[in-house]
Every structure is written in structure tokens, then in C-alpha cells.
């Protein structure tokens, strides 16, 4: 302190010499040294992880109550709710492990970002309703004193689903279920659709729906055969770009790894066994590549455009003020692209997406694609619905994955459900028992019809 003050005083006195030259003269770099000494003292005092041989401050801690594999929206949501629902302040230690801090391949950042309540399963509708509630009151949940309030840039324009003749009955049924659960949806006929949105070509549309937002735990070992239950004791967290790893002892592991959840489950030994048994049931979540295209159309639909999902599976939404639109279409099973990389196939837009878009919105016949990207769906090949809850055999692994394109929409509610499962032992607010892992072994599909 004294030295610095002296330096300043002398520096001002001498003309023509900046402070920089004075500082460059001194050989002691005080600021750097002081912070080093502080770090050393902190690591020695109790409470810090002290390793006398070498500095381990860059490694994760050696013990943690819960380790969450995957730092996307689902993993972070589970972490948030675990800390929020804990009984005492600081009761649970949570470690979130994410292998890519740039999130360059994470589905969270690459998603189109829509949230809707038009599902066919009541559980999915409940999940979306709570997530919308969460997003609306996000400043009450996530507010930090003295920080500016969060701005979600949310566009509350709603979703518009179009159905052809074949799908009209299913859509009516779905709307009934949605209304029962409390979602605000209305059905429109083609004339009403034309009145409201004059830029739509209603040829082939029979009906439109406009919406403004663990079953059986019993495992029958009928013939009394032995069931071995396994536990995960340690998670080895390998550091980025180096060979060192830290074994983290943990009580619970949560698999929220999105598209790579299948690989994580295999690491835990799930699926290693004769097929047809519970030991041999794999987690059926695999990465599927989906493209998103951004185009500009000067005469396109106006500011009031909702997120439109056509009966052919193509969808689009408006982005910003400049007549830009985001959209795409899910490929059929035969045309699934190779998920090895995230390269974009522009031919897919030309052949599969543009014809449907141009047929539904004639203004889209003239458009110019500005950019495109690809992202992964954590696709559940069994029934395209999420997997939530513990694994029957590996008793401390919980899943929060497999949402096949709806992870972002349902993340807050699913996070809360998993946190309740971990802390209380059962689902308290939304009953997600149909989404447990055991349905893969029992063969009970919970099919969601409104998947895009």
C-alpha cells in the first residue's frame, strides 16, 4: 500500500513519464502475489480441499451428494430445484458435470425454442403448464438482489396446429384433454382461420387448434430368481484436454445428458445382460439430427404470426421484426440423417420443407434462406416421451432425459419432479409415474401423438 502510494506520488511529480514506466521498474508484482498467497491460505484453512502435494483447486471436489451428468437445461433445472427444495440451507451438495462449456452441440442452445400446451397426454400438458408458469414468474424464482431482472425475450403468440381430414378426430380429442387439464385452446374452422390469418392457404385443412401455453414400481420376479441391485459409488470426472481425472464420491447420479444419455447409461452398466430381461433393457435414447433453417421473406405473414405446425409436419415461426422466419420439418424414419456430425443438408430444405411451406403459406414461394444449423433430439425410440425417475436395478441413478424435442419446454417442471423424487421419494406435484424406466421392460408405451 505504502509503496504504491509513494510510486503514484513520485510518478505525478515527474513530467513526461507515465505511470507505466514506474511500475515496470518494480520487480515485485504485488497484485498477483497477494492473490496467490490468499489462495494458498484459503486452501490450508479448514473447509477447503487441501492437498499438500499439488494444487487441486481446478478439479471438482472429492465428495458430492448428487452428481448431475449433463449441464443443459434439464441438468441445471434439476440442480436448481434440488437446492430450492432442500430442507435446510446448504443441506445438499450438487455437482453438475458438463463436458463442453461452450455448449456448441448441446440441444438447449440449438433448439427452435417453442413452448406449447397442445399435447395428447395429460402429464405432458401438466408439465408444459407448470413450465409456462415458471417462465412467466421467472424473476421470482431466479432473481438475485442487485442484478438486473431477466428478460426472456418470450413471444406469447401461441401455437397453431393444422390438421387434415384424417387427423381432425384426434385433434378434437386432444383439445378436449387439453381443456380438461386447464390449457387455453380453441378450435377453428377453415373460414375462421382465413379470417384471422389471411396469409394461410386453408386447402386441405379440416380443423385447427389455436392455443394461447412411475407406474408400477412392482417388479415381478415371478420365479424367485435373484435380482442384483447395483449402486454407483464414484463418478470419475475427467478434465478437459488433459489426462487427469477426479473420482467424485457421490450418493446419487442423475443422467441428464440429453442426446448422449444412452452412452452414459451404458457406462453405468444398464443394458448389459441377456435381452428380454430387466438387466438387459437398455435406455432407448439416441441422438437424432434435426435441421433448422432461417429464411427471409419480405411479403411473409405479419407480426401476429403464431408458431404454425402444418399437418404435413413442417413448422415455422417468426423471428424478430425483420420478416425472418425459423422453421423446418422432421424427417421420416427412412430419411433420418446420420447423427455423427452437425452438418446441414440444404437439399433437405429444397425437397422436403419448402414445398409444404409454400403450399400452406403462398407468400413463402419467394424466400431466401439466410442460415441454417443442426441440433440433436434426445430421441426416445420406444415412445418419444421422456424418461424420469430411478432405474430399478442401479438404485442411485435417476433419469431426466429422452424428451425427443420437448426437453426445453418441460425442463422446469421435470426438474422439479426429479428433485421431489430424490428428496421425498415420490412425485409430489405432477404424477410422472407413467414415465418411469420400468415401462421399457414391461413394454407399456405411453405414446404422444403430437410430436413434431
Amino acid at each position: 500500500m505504502l509503496r504504491r502510494a509513494l510510486r503514484l506520488g513520485l510518478g505525478r511529480g515527474l513530467l513526461g513519464r507515465g505511470l507505466g514506466t514506474w511500475r515496470g521498474d518494480s520487480t515485485l508484482d504485488w497484485d498477483g502475489k497477494v492473490s496467490d498467497i490468499k489462495k494458498k491460505i484459503q486452501s490450508v484453512l479448514p473447509g477447503g480441499a487441501w492437498n499438500p502435494l499439488y494444487d487441486t483447486s481446478h478439479l471438482p471436489p472429492e465428495h458430492s451428494d448428487v452428481v448431475i451428468v449433463g449441464g443443459g437445461v434439464l441438468g441445471l433445472s434439476v440442480a436448481y430445484w434440488l437446492k430450492r427444495l432442500e430442507k435446510r440451507r446448504g443441506a445438499i451438495q450438487v455437482l453438475v458435470v458438463e463436458r463442453d462449456y461452450t455448449y456448441s452441440q448441446a440441444s438447449t442452445g440449438l433448439s427452435v425454442g417453442g413452448i406449447r400446451q397442445q399435447f395428447s397426454l395429460p402429464e405432458n400438458i401438466q408439465l408444459s403448464l407448470f413450465s409456462v408458469d415458471f417462465l412467466r414468474n421467472i424473476n421470482e424464482y431466479l432473481a438475485v438482489v442487485d442484478d438486473p431482472p431477466l428478460d426472456l425475450q418470450f413471444n406469447p403468440s401461441g401455437y397453431l396446429l393444422l390438421a387434415s381430414e384424417k387427423g381432425a378426430a384426434i385433434m378434437e380429442n386432444n383439445v378436449k384433454v387439453q381443456r380438461q387439464e386447464g390449457a387455453k385452446v380453441c378450435l377453428m374452422s377453415p373460414e375462421q382461420l382465413r379470417n384471422k390469418f389471411p396469409w394461410i392457404n386453408t386447402e386441405g385443412v379440416a380443423l385447427a387448434s389455436y392455443g394461447f401455453i412411475s407406474s408400477s414400481n412392482r417388479m415381478e420376479t415371478a420365479s424367485g430368481e435373484e435380482v442384483t441391485l447395483k449402486r454407483i459409488h464414484e463418478v470419475h470426472v475427467k478434465m478437459d484436454r488433459s489426462l487427469e481425472y477426479q473420482p467424485v464420491e457421490c450418493a446419487i447420479v442423475i443422467n441428464a445428458a440429453g442426446a448422449w444419455s444412452g452412452q452414459i447409461a451404458e457406462l453405468a452398466g444398464i443394458g448389459k445382460g441377456p435381452p428380454g430381461t430387466l438387466q438387459g433393457t437398455k435406455l432407448p435414447v439416441e441422438p437424432r439430427k434435426r435441421y433448422v433453417y432461417l429464411w427471409h421473406c419480405p411479403q411473409g405473414p405479419g407480426l401476429e404470426t403464431p408458431f404454425v405446425i402444418d399437418s404435413s409436419g413442417a413448422y415455422f415461426r417468426r423471428e424478430g421484426l425483420g420478416n425472418n422466419y425459423l422453421g423446418s420439418c422432421s424427417p421420416t424414419e427412412e430419411e433420418e440423417p446420420d447423427p455423427g456430425n452437425l452438418e446441414v443438408d440444404h437439399g433437405f430444405f429444397q425437397d422436403k420443407v419448402w414445398p409444404h411451406l409454400a403450399q400452406r403459406v403462398p407468400a413463402f414461394e419467394t424466400l431466401k434462406v439466410r442460415s441454417a444449423w443442426a441440433g440433436y433430439y434426445d430421441y426416445n425410440t420406444f415412445d418419444q416421451n421422456g424418461v424420469v425417475g430411478p432405474h430399478p436395478l442401479v438404485v442411485n441413478m435417476y433419469f431426466a432425459t429422452g424428451f425427443s424435442g420437448h426437453g426445453l419446454q418441460q425442463a422446469p417442471a421435470v426438474g422439479r419432479a426429479v428433485a421431489e423424487m430424490v428428496l421425498e421419494g415420490s412425485f409430489q406435484t405432477i404424477d410422472l409415474n407413467p414415465f418411469l424406466f420400468s415401462r421399457f421392460y414391461l413394454g407399456e408405451k405411453v405414446q404422444e401423438h403430437n410430436i413434431i
Binding site: R136, N139, E140, A143, V145, D146, D147, P148, P149, D151, Q153, F154, N155, P156, S157, G158, F212, G302, L303, E304, T305, L321, G322
Partner: protein
Amino acid sequence: MAAPKASLHLVAPIWKGGPRGIRGLSRTVAPEGNQRKGRTVLQFLADRFYDVQALREYLLRKQVSKVHQKNRSFTYVKEQYGPYIAAAYFVLKQGGAVKFQGQEWMRPNGRGRFSLEFFKFQAVPVEAVDASGCAINYQGLDNLLALKELQSLSLQRCPHVDDWCLSRLYQLAGSLQELSLAGCPQVSERGLACLHHLQNLRRLDISDLPAVSNPGLTQILVEEMLPNCNVLGADWAQGLKLGPEEQSQDTARSIPA
């Protein structure tokens, strides 16, 4: 408005708003750099001591719950006296003004007191509501959405009215003719997109919305969305200025009206 026939160069508007703290939603706070240096003693203490941090979080939660309390829904009043009285009571309690059909404007006096004589107007619909500056939010709108004959709604300078609230206004589409959102700090162009349901709207005021990124362009898009409505707001040429050669010509001759 006579637009000068000149080459207009677009001047990027300088957005003066910085990150706004939760405390003062209607005042701007200095940008990030200043915030680092000018940290108050309280913030410094809160970073150091858990007690101070817990106290500040408690005060923040109390503030939020105060707003919630103001926006509770008056279901008892609604059941006993009907939706019009409930809405009027709600607005007057918040500090706004309400006008029944055929009556004068009723507003609380300087101390927030108002007479309860409007309780006899059970069958008289409410025609206009002026909730300027009130702490009305998404939940509080519940009380207002039952007014099926509401013609004029003014939500000027309401700090908690945001895009989500605007997405609820479609329920008033049958009767609403005049809407004013001037000065609401949380309304952005995405909320304005939800106003296309209000087909009976004749007068819409969207001036001075700090969260709208491009006021001139937004005004044009809203005018396209609501063709029968007179949209007041940003002057569409506000971000533009005359080119240098046309400027001198302009002063030389007068523009015919």
C-alpha cells in the same frame, strides 16, 4: 404528417437504457462498468456476510409479496356484488380511476381513500378504466377481464405490465376500443404482437416503450396488423435525419401542407 421529400439517412438510435435493477423499474441505472465501481456499502456487505445477504433477500421477497397482495382476486366481492363492482373496487384500491356507464370518473383522493357509494351500481357496466401507474400484474388482470363492456383501458406507466399481460387481453376483444400502453417499461414488440385479437380497437397508444428495440418499425408493423386502428406512438421518421444537401433546400422553401 408531411414527410419531407428528401434522402433520409438512418441514424442508429442510441439506447440509453442500461440494466435495470429490480427496485427501480421506471428509472434507468448506469451501465455495467459504473455498477462495478460505484457499489454501495450495502452491496459490499451483502457480498461478505450471509446475514446481510439474507436480510436483503428477505426485503426483496417482501416487496414481491406486497405486489402479489395488491393483485389478489376479490372473489368474495365478485360473488356478492358482481364483476363490475369487484373490478371497480380493485382499481380504486390500487389508486386508479374507474368510470361507470353514464356516471362521472371516480378516483381515490390524495390519501388513497374513496367512497363506497358505487356499490349500488351492480348492474351498471364499467365503461373505462384508468390504471396509470398502478402495480397491476398478470394475476390482477383477472379482475379486469370479466368486464365485457369495457371500452377504454389505460395502462400507462404500469411497472409490472409485461408481454404476458398483453397476451391475456384477447378476452376484452369484443368491446375494447381504446388502449394505452405508453411508458410501460416491460412491454416489448412481442407483446404488441398479441394485440391483433383486438379487432374493435380504434385507438392504441404505444409511445415511449423503452423495451421496444425499434419503435419506428414496430409502429409500422402494428399498423399493418390492426388496419382499422389509429396507432399513436413513435414518429416513424424519428430515427432518420435529412441528408445535408436536402436540409439547406428545405429551409429555403416551405413544404406545402
